[in-house]
């Protein structure tokens, strides 16, 4: 015991010396690094989680209203735009709908524009569209009739509300126009003027039957237009030429033996890689009216040859998918149990799973 006392004293001295050498840490706040390849937003009920799909690292988060249909990013302006809806007392009280603008550096709200209080409060990517001029943002309304609110994100003003009865979905085309899918089996083209007001409106010929084989209200952008798919899996490509709506002949990737296979999922079921023309489609086997059944397989289709070239068989079926637009694209999948996964979109090999609690869909960044 006599020997131990000096040993303890020595240890105490050493410890105190070591503590004295540590500089107290100070809290700091990160800012967003420069955007990298294959970054994406995992959309949930309360925000947008930003990830790098290449390594699965989270970069930051946007706080969004629980009713936000979608969020979109403007690369030249380095801003995010989201349609949001709030009730003043949470579950009740006065309703205020806005387009919120967030900066890239801090993912913080920097402006908001009040819009008519009836945005369609569903998590659907195509209920929000930044038109190709990068200036006008279109937001789908439902009250319960459909209309579209136009916001000028440059001047930060609400410009116009276009009544669009029987038509929903927003598919930006040309410079300042957008297409919609209508319940009478047609497409509607709305062309805006420079100020964001409706200048012209055109309707296509009837090309599908909503009763016999409806076109999904989930769509995928292509290099020059949009891919639409029906409940039975027939795919159409639609483009415009000034005020003309051009709809391709429909084609179906199913073989005779696959007549019971159908597209389906609770959220985004179709996505396309622009440069390669590859389409990814969530498919399952089942009878009609199973269009919200998650996909047990992802079919990879070549839109150029109009043939299926491969497929991914999933252990847990997919509710929502998105392919990034890089030269080495990633295929992102939310499965029916809420887990998020990354695949190489060309080799179709599984790469990793990422924890995004409550993830419902993805946005490319």
């Amino acid at each position: 015991m006599r020997l131990m006392a000096p040993v303890f004293a020595g240890l105490l001295l050493i410890t105190e010396f070591a503590i004295a050498q540590i500089t107290p840490e100070e809290i700091s706040i990160e800012t967003m690094p420069e955007r990298g390849d294959n970054w994406f937003i995992g959309k949930t009920g309360n925000g947008g989680y930003i990830f790098d799909a290449s390594n699965g690292e989270m970069k930051g988060m946007l706080s969004l209203s629980r009713y936000t249909p979608a969020v979109t990013f403007s690369p030249p302006r380095e801003e995010f735009y989201a349609a949001e809806s709030y009730l003043s007392r949470g579950a009740h009280g006065d309703r205020t709908d806005i387009v919120a603008i967030y900066d890239y550096e801090n993912l913080s709200p920097i402006a908001e524009i009040e819009i008519p209080n009836y945005i369609a409060r569903l998590q659907v990517r195509s209920h929000l569209g930044l038109l190709n001029n990068g200036r006008h943002l279109a937001v789908l309304n439902m009250n319960p009739g459909h209309s579209v609110t136009i916001v000028d994100v440059e001047d930060r003003i609400f410009t116009h509300e276009a009544s669009t009865p029987g038509c929903a979905v927003i598919m930006p085309v040309s410079d300042n126009d957008f297409l919609q899918v209508c319940g009478d089996g047609t497409l509607q083209l709305i062309q805006l003027d420079l100020s964001g007001f409706e200048e012209n409106r055109v309707r296509s010929d009837v090309f599908f039957s909503v009763i016999e084989d409806a076109v999904f209200d989930r769509v995928a952008s292509s290099s020059n237009g949009w891919f639409l798919v029906t409940h039975s899996g027939t795919i159409f490509h639609v483009t415009t030429d000034d005020d003309e709506i051009i709809i391709s002949e429909g084609w179906n990737p199913r073989s005779e033996a696959e007549k019971n296979w159908r597209p389906g999922g609770r959220n985004e079921i179709i996505t396309a890689h622009h440069a390669s023309g590859l389409i990814y489609l969530a498919m399952h086997e089942g009878p009609i009216d199973t269009h919200h059944e998650p996909g047990t397989e992802i079919w990879v289709l070549d839109s150029n040859t109009q043939r299926r070239i491969s497929k991914i068989e999933l252990s847990t079926p997919a509710n929502s998918i998105l392919v990034t637009q890089e030269d080495d694209p990633k295929l992102l999948i939310v499965d029916s149990e809420g887990a998020s996964h990354v695949y190489d979109a060309f080799t179709l090999s599984y790469e990793r799973s990422i924890q995004i609690p409550g993830s419902t869909a993805f946005e490319d960044l």
């Binding site: 009730l87 579950a91 009740h92 569903l122 439902m142 029987g166 209508c182 199973t290 919200h292």
Partner: protein, 178 residues
């Protein structure tokens, strides 16, 4: 579409029966006899108190089978949302303090008891936080959002003071084969 057909058929049935009754009376009764009986009927009617008219009294009620707290219950074939029957309400009533949306989506479900198809109205109950019990998503006859009268995905809290979604009820509004 089916609702319009039912209304049209109901009007046709009333017109047709009124026409038949008038023709029968015209054939069988003299004008004086008809007027005297009509007078008695009017005088007699005045002596009865005005009773409240219950629509359900005139209609047969729907026979039920199954568990209303299960998504497999026959009324829920085109239901999407959470079941009010699990949240302090029933399949026809909203839970306390919530507000019934007057605007709905519709579907057609087959009742396994009588094998008949019934026109269903799915009304959202609104104004409270979502009751997250007994989530139920069936898509029989469901259509995309652009065809919203048959779209179960839509939040139907329209025309209510508060627009937050609480749960959903399913009301029979008629037999599809009538």
């Amino acid at each position: 579409m089916k609702l319009e057909k039912i209304i049209d058929r109901t009007y046709y049935w009333i017109d047709d029966n009124a026409r038949r009754a008038s023709l029968t009376m015209a054939r069988k009764l003299s004008r004086r006899n008809f007027l005297s009986r009509l007078g008695m009927l009017v005088a007699g009617a005045a002596s009865f108190p005005l009773l409240p008219v219950s629509r359900s009294f005139a209609q047969e009620s729907v026979e039920e089978i199954g568990d209303p707290q299960s998504c497999d219950y026959w009324r829920y074939c085109a239901m999407s949302g959470t079941l009010c029957s699990c949240c302090g309400g029933s399949y026809t009533s909203c839970p306390p303090g919530s507000e019934a949306s007057p605007i709905t989506w519709v579907g057609t479900c087959t009742n396994p008891v009588d094998g008949r198809d019934y026109l269903m109205s799915y009304n959202d109950c609104c104004g409270k936080a979502v009751c997250a019990r007994c989530s139920c998503h069936n898509t029989e006859g469901d259509k995309p959002v652009y065809f919203n009268s048959n779209s179960s995905t839509v939040l139907w809290c329209f025309g209510t003071e508060n627009t937050s979604y609480h749960c959903t009820v399913s009301l029979v509004i008629g037999a599809a084969d009538e």
